[in-house]
Symmetry: C4
Subunit: 311 residues, 4 copies
């Protein structure tokens, strides 16, 4: 009990002296006593993803249907569930982004781009960012170095060839990069990746002794996690992301904060989800100082900012 008593005394002293430390002052190895902010004057940056993957999925890919196909047969309705993504979902979201004058980042699976080039092209032509998402739906963390490099490069080539956009950002399948992924991305000219959930703002890491940006992704404002994984209804999705925004907006008065929201063609593109998204965007845009940015913009701003967090 002695050290307990010791603490009580120490604590009282701290209290009297007003020495209780402000937010984050001791944590994570950096001095945040100076408040941080976005270089362009934004109060809060909102970063939206619209992943384009459908059409590129393997046969009998996971879907809302029971995962019990007999061997040798194709899950035909499952394939139509995915087809919704390129036939309806992307288009509906594109219209919604236009309605709210928002530009987003679209991580594109190479095989989806090649199967439906017109969809990939339209995304880019309407002002959105095309980013890398691998050549197909395979896990890549277990690939040997050269194979993984080819896998990433092929996906980027598909995007470049079809859309004319040079991808500089990367998202691995299920975020599962391997030990070599970042080195490969740096070698291939990528400037940022998103497969990190550790912060509510972008930061800089060293890869191959050079700066590389991390623009954090989200699971908790992510349609595939919430709608298909956790079985949220669309009004739950809306309420939860609103609460996320409320808190980050409040914090952004004192500190650089980023809200990340993620959609996937066949899920975020349904009427009920676009309705939820429209209500969300209307709510967010009712607040001053919020800017919507593509992840390439965020990465560029972060890399150029001397006050960015470095790890």
């Amino acid at each position: 009990m002695s050290s307990r008593r010791h603490f009580m005394k120490q604590s009282a002293v701290l209290g009297m002296a007003g020495l209780v430390q402000p937010f984050g002052s001791l944590a994570a190895g950096r001095d945040t006593s100076k408040q941080s902010s976005w270089a362009d004057g934004s109060r809060l940056v909102v970063s939206i993803s619209m992943q384009f993957e459908s059409g590129g999925q393997p046969d009998n890919a996971e879907s809302p249907f029971p995962n019990n196909m007999l061997p040798g047969f194709r899950d035909l309705p499952g394939a139509t569930w995915y087809a919704y993504g390129y036939k309806e979902g992307v288009q509906r979201m594109l219209d919604n982004w236009d309605r709210f004058d928002v530009k987003v980042t679209s991580h594109m699976v190479g095989s989806a781009v090649l199967k439906h080039p017109e969809v990939a092209k339209e995304i880019v032509q309407r002002g959105h960012e095309a980013a890398g998402h691998g050549m197909d739906w395979t896990t890549q963390y277990n690939l040997p170095y050269e194979q993984e490099k080819q896998f990433i490069a092929d996906g980027a080539d598909a995007i470049r060839k079809v859309t004319g956009f040079n991808p500089v950002g990367y998202n691995a399948n299920w975020l599962r990069r391997g030990e070599n992924t970042l080195k490969i991305l740096q070698e291939l000219g990528f400037t940022y990746h998103i497969d990190d959930l550790s912060r509510d703002e972008p930061f800089i890491i060293q890869v191959n002794n050079k700066d590389f940006a991390v623009v954090p992704y989200t699971l908790r404002c992510n349609d595939i996690l919430l709608i298909e994984g956790k079985h949220f209804s669309t009004d739950q999705f809306l309420k939860q992301v609103k609460m996320e925004f409320d808190q980050l907006y409040e914090e952004s008065a004192r500190r650089r904060r980023q809200l990340s929201i993620s959609f996937h063609d066949r899920i975020g593109g349904t009427p009920q989800m676009v309705k939820a998204t429209a209500e969300l965007l209307q709510y967010i845009q009712g607040h001053k100082g919020v800017s919507f940015k593509r992840k390439d913009e965020i990465a560029r701003m972060t890399l150029a900012d001397k006050t960015s967090i470095r790890e």
Copy 2:
């Protein structure tokens, strides 16, 4: 980075010239710059399913009870859960459809029809469509051609014999048609199927070199998926389908749109679900230009319409 810069320039040009393409203009291989509409002047068509399956299920069929019966024993309470469908569920829904003057499509499992012909008959006598749903609850995608044909024909015969209604629409168990299903349906005189989730409006495909209608079904406004699969509460079901309606109603000002909602006798027919459905129908009917249509009507209208989407 060169193609990246190239894009920024190109994008700017596009922006200045106002060349950003309107909705859907490049996608899915068809010209939708002309707005589409329903041939009968409806603004939005709502298509409701009321599947009649209970009584025809196999012993120890999947239910809310734990799936752990010892071999050789019957799941007696599970059977009463299904019995609710023909003893209470269908009747309650029929009354609700009458209350709102709505006609629906009932895909009927042949074995259920034979077990409870009075239920099947009443559905038809009250003005609803009887459609095919196979002879029993077996998967059909793995059946050889002739066996599958018999399976479909037997189910249709049961419906015809009992109700006097000739089914022209088809729904496979869990939507899982096989590679031969559509050919067989075309041969047997069916005019449409619903085992497709790829669009928010009906379309035409070629089967045996003849037109065949696809009237898309739904998972996201489907009681079995949401209530039993995703464990939604009934108010979540109501909110989600309302959001689906809101968005489709908005889009239907510019384009042919269909809202599909699906119920199953033992699930959609509970008091809490019929309460939700009544609130939903009241909400929907408060909007101008919405018509509720049976799927046979939608298929007929689609097949006769030169502007229908063709795939």
Copy 3:
């Protein structure tokens, strides 16, 4: 297509002649053209269960904790989760029933009664019904006739001995009665069972050539199914049961209807659930003509009523 056309014609005739049948007229083999009602003049009967089981559960019984105990060890926190039932849950619910002047039915596991006789006794002394729930938590559907008879009789004896109440109603573990259960219950002097979900009102069946009452139970207004099984939040539970009530209340103007709600000591007895229940009871009691009845009363009324449904 001929029978299709035939139907359209027939349907039109039916419509013109006003021959569309009223609710339930053809279904389930009985004439319901005459509206049904409760013998005692109640408009709607609400039947609440408060199952008393905790303390009687086997070691390492299923709980919210991960089901992964190493063999040979006891799940100590799991046991405290159950203990909540007899230490807090039942008491809180009893107070709530008193507050709203409601009497309920408590199906009691024999082993729980013997472990905590003071709880069982208090339930009965405060005016509630004690009913059979087997001697312990074992499945009974697979027991040989004599063993099952002993199992049921032992549980009933425990209740009689401890509470002085002679149980006349029965609920099998997970509702899973076997092929012999009803015969045994009839032999042992029980007058009703609840392991049936097929109707929203009680009915009479023949067991050993004598009348036996079925007082239907519920999964969709059941705390263990919704809170522990489907992971509802307590406000979802409240909303869903309210919707169930709304619809049944509406129907009860024309027909005999029963609302069944079920609680279990360790789940329904938590503060959050009792709060939900209190709001629910307040809502229900704001409607005229609703009576809350114990299941023994419902069974007695049903058996004495010539207009009861017979199957």
Copy 4:
């Protein structure tokens, strides 16, 4: 039926004589006819946990990511999900506690403390309680006596060394203490544990023939159970805990009641959860007589109170 009739008579007598027993009078072997209260005059005590565990988890620990890593590879995004706890989560919660002037208890895993001492230190420096949570994430219920003792002592040493705080409370991994745990805790000078869900107030047990306090924990107001386990949205969490508070606050007029709420660094520390928590605290603080207490205070008050429940 004779004992049934007997009961009805007896029950009537009880009713007439007004002998129905008040709350809890017969249960759980203690006389509660005298109302209980908190020694310090609080009406209701709220006890919040903020578990500090992240950084100390084993490789590929359970996370929202699919649990399907190929052997020999590290789940890199999973690790960033945990890192959120010490990089953002704890800091945000600490600010929130300050905003509402609330002190909490932080059960700290030893390995997390050693990995991120600055976080552990700040928690203590801002006035919160550091409590034991084992040396790492291993299950301890299966350890031999001496090994388990070392495991607990090592964790406590880490806390003492890093924070200067002497932990007196304990929480086992997943609450799963073993048969020896309490004896060891008593020997090591701990004064309370929380791995018990059986009551809504603290109580005293005998361990090694000495008093030991039990300060009950919660699953039903617990972020890891509700958000990650049951997949609640954050508004569901908020609503459910509010309902828990409402009922306990009502009961606390007559009886000593404790509300326990639990957070974990990487879950309770997200923006959406801190928003929910802020709304919750605002709601609670709008009620008179509520005090927020650290569990060491509650244990001390309980052990010193002659009216504490003893088991």
